[in-house]
């Protein structure tokens, strides 16, 4: 089946060829599956915003449960509340979303360049640390911010800022747009860092050397070679970061709610908390629309220029770092200090809190290992034993690892396939649709997504078995919720792989499956592995997505941790967060080690 060697003979053979082309078959198959797993829940969500629900009887006397209505949309867009519920938060969302995304892209890009392309010392240690902020739950970063910049009006001990400088920090530094943007950027810059680092790793030094010989300066090289090559990675990072920041609610709530600073996402959350689900869904659809616009812009940007950025070609490959000279140590110091502040310090704070008998009270006599190793003591924490002495936690740890690993692997492979289709068949509207559908789960309010999967898989429907209460269902929803990430990372990776490699293989008689396995997967592996790490971490930390689908036998660490946090047992929940962080780091190191071996072998073969 070598389609390019045989010239096309009329419509019939073309039809026949496209019907038997494995890529087309795969595309249609994936479209059907995603339509059921993503589009159908999305349509249900939309329908719910257009239907009176049981609970709506309290909103309006006209409510007839089950009947069609524009009520929720009218309330959100033109009702007396619309400024407070929609338009005001929308502006705040745009501001914090754009500012934090720009900050994250800047930080991620600069750091990636230092780590991958420069001869900065200590890279091996800094590399994993730089992904730590994403591993920590976003609220941990918000809490750390509060520890430093807390305003005296919340009571308790003064913050670090006040303790050191003697004056209270200004309110705009404690709460509102500034701290939200900065902490969001800290939490999400690893996206940009991982994606850009993946792209930079594929730059052939020969391109730069060529430029140098032709007389280009360092800045010129950066501007004319390095930056264009990593542009698709920046575009992907832009979408992921922007999408995630506008969808994030825990952090804006912690740092915004004290002064009534609301974003659309916190409004979604507030409406859900008050049981006004339909209103929450209207706002969720607004969020989805916002990010679809962002995707559209970025697709245009990447799509038009992508051919120019192919860096992995059939020719030889060499990677050489750039000497920083006198700047070597200053750069190292700056990067190390930054990594320490955003990656290690919050972990230390959590760790210290988990060994304090009375939380928030600093002093040696207050230290205890009870919350880690202790057995049940009725005087402490309702007699809850330490986390390492607790059978439930051991079972939950195993479940968590299994779920995160399986989901991350499946999501990455499926994501790469979708990415391949949407890059290589960019002119096919169905391929573009596939790309866009795969992004929808990103902005679904996760709790609503979970609820819909409960309904979707509670009973067998045709050939689809009932999956309620099974581990499979958890894997399924985790994979779908991670697709947006894995597709975006996949697109970045595939865009850089020159077509001629595949064309050569095709001429040599390799079928599509063989080409995908032997060319695309290995060459994309560095980017895809980064994506796999992101997914691994994401699944480990996920709570609201799966809380409705969990049964006691499929318990995971975060649901146990949620129980502790709910009871105010912060030492135990901190200890659990730390366990999750440590497991994630181990998982990352394993993935990195696998990835290194693969890339190294590949390079050996090439040279």
């Amino acid at each position: 089946m070598s389609d390019i060697s045989v010239p096309a003979h009329g419509l019939r053979s073309r039809l026949h060829r496209s019907a038997t082309d494995p890529v087309n078959i795969l595309m249609l198959l994936l479209l059907a599956v995603l339509a059921y797993l993503v589009l159908w829940p999305f349509i249900q969500l939309t329908i719910e915003t257009l239907t009176w629900s049981q609970g709506d009887r309290r909103l309006s006397r006209d409510a007839v449960p089950g009947e069609f209505t524009w009520f929720h949309w009218l309330q959100a867009t033109t009702g007396p509340l619309s400024t407070k519920v929609l338009y005001g938060p929308l502006i705040n969302t745009m501001i914090t979303g754009i500012v934090s995304t720009i900050l994250a892209l800047l930080a991620g890009g600069v750091l990636a360049w230092c780590v991958v392309r420069s001869d900065m010392p200590g890279k091996r240690w800094l590399q994993p640390i730089l992904t730590l902020p994403y591993i920590l739950p976003s609220f941990a970063i918000a809490l750390a911010w509060e520890t430093v910049f807390r305003s005296p009006k919340v009571g308790g001990q003064p913050g670090l800022f006040e303790a050191l400088l003697g004056t209270a920090p200004p309110e705009w530094l404690s709460y509102g747009a500034v701290p939200i943007s900065i902490t969001l950027a800290i939490h999400y810059f690893p996206f940009a860092y991982l994606l850009v680092a993946g792209a930079l790793a594929t730059i052939d030094s020969q391109m730069e050397e060529g430029a140098l010989i032709s007389g280009a300066g360092r800045l010129m090289i950066l501007r004319r070679i390095t930056f264009p090559v990593v542009a698709p990675a920046f575009a992907a990072a832009f979408i992921l970061t922007f999408g995630k920041t506008i969808g994030q609610f825990a952090l804006p709530f912690l740092l915004g709610a004290p002064t009534q600073y609301h974003t659309v996402a916190t409004m979604v959350y507030a409406n859900l908390a008050l049981g006004l689900d339909s209103m929450a869904f209207v706002l969720a659809i607004v969020l989805i629309a916002m990010s679809l616009v962002a995707i559209w812009f970025s697709n245009r940007f990447v799509g038009k220029k992508s051919r120019r950025f192919e860096t992995i070609s059939g020719k030889g490959f060499r990677s050489r770092t750039i000497a920083l000279g006198a700047w070597r140590w200053p750069v190292f110091t700056a990067v190390a200090m930054f990594s320490f502040t955003v990656g290690i310090l919050p972990l230390i704070l959590l760790g210290v809190q988990s060994v304090m008998l009375i939380d928030g009270f600093y002093g040696l006599e207050n230290l205890t290992s009870h919350f880690w190793f202790g057995t049940s003591n009725p005087e402490i924490a309702f007699g809850e034993p330490g986390v390492l002495h607790n059978d439930i936690i051991l079972g939950a740890t195993w479940n968590t690892l299994k779920l995160a690993f399986i989901s991350a692997v499946i999501a990455s492979v499926v994501g790469l396939v979708i990415a391949y289709i949407s890059v290589r068949r960019a002119d096919n509207p169905l391929a573009r649709a596939l790309d866009q559908i795969s992004f929808i789960p990103f902005l679904f309010p996760t709790i609503a997504f979970g609820a819909m999967y409960l309904t979707l898989f509670a009973e067998p429907v045709g050939p689809i078995p009932a999956l309620y209460g099974t581990f499979t269902l958890l894997v399924l929803i985790s994979v779908v919720s991670r697709l947006p990430y894995s597709v975006k990372t996949g697109v970045t990776a595939v865009t850089q792989i020159g077509k001629e490699l595949e064309e050569a293989a095709e001429l040599a008689g390799a079928g599509w499956g063989m080409r995908f396995r032997r060319i695309i997967m290995p060459l994309a592996s560095s980017g895809v592995l980064s994506g796999m790490m992101v997914s691994f971490v994401g699944v480990m930390r996920e709570l609201s997505l799966i809380i409705l689908l969990i049964t006691p036998s499929t318990r995971v660490l975060m649901t146990v941790g949620f129980g502790y946090a709910e009871e105010g047992l912060s030492q135990l929940s901190n200890a659990l967060v730390l366990i999750v962080a440590v497991l994630t780091i181990i998982g990352e190191l394993i993935l990195m080690w696998i990835g290194k071996g693969k890339m190294a072998r590949l390079r050996d073969k090439q040279s």
Binding site: A270, L274, G275, G360, I547, G568
Partner: protein, 398 residues
Amino acid sequence: MKTKRNLRLLATTAALGLMLGNVAAADDAWQKSAGVGAYANETQDWAAIEAAAREEGQVVIYSVSSRIAKLVDGFKEKYGIDIIGHDMPSDLQIEKLRRENNAGVHAVDVLFNAEAALLLNEALPDELVWNFIPDGMTDDLDTGETEPFLIQRHSSRVVYYNTALNPDGAPIDSLWDLTRDEWKGRTLLPSPLEDSLSANFIQTVLHNAEEMAAAYEREFGEPITYSEGVLEAVEDNATITEPDAGMEWLFRFLGNEPVFQGSTTKIFKNVGDVQQDNPPLGITTFSKMRKNKEGIYAAAPIYDLDPVFGVSYPTALVMANEAPHPNAAKLLIRYMMEEDGFKPWNEPGDYAARSSIEATQVEDFNLPKFDDLNLWPINPEEIYFTKYGFLALYLALG
């Protein structure tokens, strides 16, 4: 075999019935075996129930409190039955149950749930849950604690102050003090937009407008007058026609920049921390007083606050519709109402519904009786039906 198929048929019919909004007929057999609904008043043969429960072997509970895990060993020892506990917020329990019911999945037996408004207005009328009252307890409980659903305990949200830095007693004596300049930016509470119990507190103040008006006069010595902002908000609001003292309080309170904090424990600590100069006040859970520590945290609730000490809300025990282990469910519900099964929740500030257990609590903790506290219980009906109006008002006044 045949009964199994019949049961499945029954379950499917029940699910179908639910979707059509016609539920009454289908699950008669289950109601009989569970002793709820039409069979609620039949005498309970506890020996038979226990035998049947042992046969069932396990009981599944959705619990708003993770302390349910504390019951597992004792219950197993006493009855040989496994408790399969599942921590979940109250509203999600009902959401999950509704979806399971619609799909014909019946996996849970008991709900331990603090969302009185949803239980009363959705879960009970839609027959997602049933009220089961174990024999011999009615003397020990008020009527309001057995109908429409069985109540295990009462919790409250109250106002705390720092006792170490206010040795002469509470710095305020009225809720209206919270609207004074000297408390600007110095009241902590969980955001009502995030925490439904905090919303309940504010809503309950709004529902008691007359008492708020009287308290205003006592505090300021003149009848209440309404601010521009309140009058405007009323004009814009479709469901509210007249301003009242509750709204005026909320308007002034929000204008006084209260600080919203996520965790009730944190609020307690920030109020009670003895190493500060100017401690704030905090609206938080009554039972946080157990966290007081000599020389570290010192805080107490303001019992004689005018017009009210705080707002109380119940935690209910109900049986899930078509519970697969109805007898074990009955046994667990009874157990959690008894001294042994109540133990994990026995702490100062949370009151057992049963007066016999409460009497011990009052003695052990040296606290006033629950009925002697000047608490406003939430009105689940009002809370439910005014939720949207509240959101509108809250955002308009803020």
